[in-house]
Symmetry: C2
């Protein structure tokens, strides 16, 4: 795609959210502006950000610090935090996006607060029932995009249909998949399996023009049977966290077993293979989880994001903007509405 005529993309980054803030954010941003034609805003406490930024070598005009005195902590109640901490890095950053001062906002802070802020400050695209949190889930083949991974815990079939729609548009444009395979997470492979929600969602997806490949049983998720995995946010969040829990536990147990018994393996011999394994099941290279369906892009980076993950989240924003995914989603949702009206 020819991007030369487009105006420079401006990304606001929450410098204060996440386990490695502000260090990882400053480094990730500095690296990003060196490699990409973008403008970055580091939102947060200037006295903490400035000294770190001064240590970095990058084109100075491409990063600005936007002061915000407060920080929304992980344990805070999302709605209360967004309402009360008007000068938090998260609220200030999202207001910039809302006011057109930035094109996208990235944060590794509280997911709950980011979702609330996304809905109340940035706002939904007209026609989108529920914006969806799309998290990349590592598989043997690469990864699948999990929609919804936790934004909407009580869903209707129409919501799941839109999750699939938005996930497909995102996967096609940002992840560069020609015809993303859409799968429905369900408790059986057959069409008639599932609960009320999945049965009705299946019927909607089957009739759509999306590349719907049917139900995906949880046991097959790690094999990468679909590019876009559709489910309600309760299921999605459970899948995401169980994935993480089982992987960690199993690697721990594996190390224990490999360093005892008849064939004692030196711990050193395990370091490399385990590091490679962790890498294979590591989402850091993929970027963050976009909150899709908002008027502007908001991306949730993992709480434990380091420099590399932040860098990739920024790159992801750039691709998103270059393909104008928001406009595509708005058009797709509008087309459905028009169709519905015509059918009435």
């Amino acid at each position: 795609m020819d991007t030369t005529e487009q105006k420079q993309i401006r990304i606001a980054l929450d410098a204060m959210g996440g386990d490695y803030a502000p260090d990882a954010m400053v480094k990730g941003a500095a690296q990003a502006v060196k490699d990409m034609d973008i403008h970055m805003f580091l939102v947060g406490q200037e006295d903490k950000i400035r000294p770190l930024l001064e240590k970095e070598n990058y084109p100075k005009e491409k990063i600005e610090i936007v002061p915000a005195s407060e920080i929304i902590e992980m344990g805070e109640h999302p709605t209360t935090a967004i309402r009360q901490k008007k000068d938090s890095s998260m609220v200030v950053g999202m207001k910039m996006v809302k006011d057109g001062k930035a094109d996208a906002f990235v944060s590794a802070g509280s997911t709950g607060a980011l979702l609330v802020g996304g809905l109340t400050i940035v706002g939904r695209i007209r026609g989108v029932e529920r914006p969806v949190l799309a998290t990349p889930l590592p598989t043997l083949e690469g990864f699948s995009l999990l929609v919804d991974s936790g934004a909407n815990v009580d869903c209707k079939p129409q919501y799941l249909y839109q999750f699939a729609q938005m996930g497909s548009i995102y996967a096609k444009n940002v992840l560069d998949l020609e015809k993303p395979r859409v799968g429905l997470i369900n408790i059986g492979a057959e069409k008639e399996k599932g609960n009320m929600l999945t049965k009705e969602s299946y019927a909607l997806l089957e009739e759509s023009s999306m590349n719907f490949v049917g139900n995906v049983e949880a046991r097959n998720i790690p094999y990468g049977e679909a590019d876009v995995l559709v489910c309600d946010g309760f299921i999605g969040n459970t899948v995401l966290k169980l994935y993480e829990g089982v992987s960690k536990t199993l690697m721990k147990a594996m190390k224990e077993e490999l360093t005892k018994g008849l064939y004692v393996l030196p711990t050193l011999a395990l370091a490399k293979p385990f590091s490679r394994l962790k890498h294979r099941f590591d989402a850091d290279e993929i970027g963050g989880a976009p909150f899709i369906g908002l008027k502007q892009l908001v991306v949730k980076a993992h709480g434990s994001s380091k420099e590399k993950a932040i860098y990739h989240a920024i790159r992801q924003c750039k691709t998103f903007m270059e393909h104008d995914v928001t406009a595509q989603i708005a058009a797709a949702v509008q087309a459905e509405k028009t169709e519905e009206k015509a059918a009435e």
Copy 2:
């Protein structure tokens, strides 16, 4: 417990269901009657069972073959299969239980058919809203009992409350846990987290006399935070299958990583540790998954059950009967109903 005065426990075993039928069933039953004071019925095709049984060395009077000419296959529609295959090993076995000719029924065949048969042939205990499939899930500490692991995909908070109640009684009596810790699978640790179902269920569980330890996030399931894990059957089935899928994939990937690279490890050196690891995350020793809340005991053994798993499922039936778990559940459910009435 003194069992000398109790009448001999009679267990009907589906000799035709499961990947290793009838061989594993015949061997498991033969070993069981050698070790335990029980009577076994092997239900199925006599011409297939008889020759295998004759090879075994066991007290002959303790095993009887009960002929059943048909087999319910894994892919069949559960309701249709139970209705039409009147002479299947599953239907014949469950009728024996219903008619008081056997005290319990064990099958490694189709889960769906077993659930339908349990409900329509054996029937619910009065006051039990929905019988629950309780599957042991391996953890670092041992295992947790997952209720519901797939019998009820659309649930009300009252169902989840009863799942917890029945799971607790089972865990106390059959698994010998003094005060089983009951946890609610949820997407956050805090009380206010979750969807409508889990929020309302939390409130019910919190007020109960059970040892409720609060929400358990999916990422903590492998650490064994609770003895009884409560959830709806859609979530439970997803957890169960994802557990299996992630474990398998990760072990495969680990083997790949450990046998390549700078430190090449011989495949032989991995055999023992991997076998131990598999063993640690193996439910075979625990027995099957009881379908709790029916008038008589029905146990689902894993489809890939071998002799050992069948043996343990039989032992599990014996313990269940000795503690008269069905009567305890009936009493507990009745007590709640009386309380409700009094409160009206």
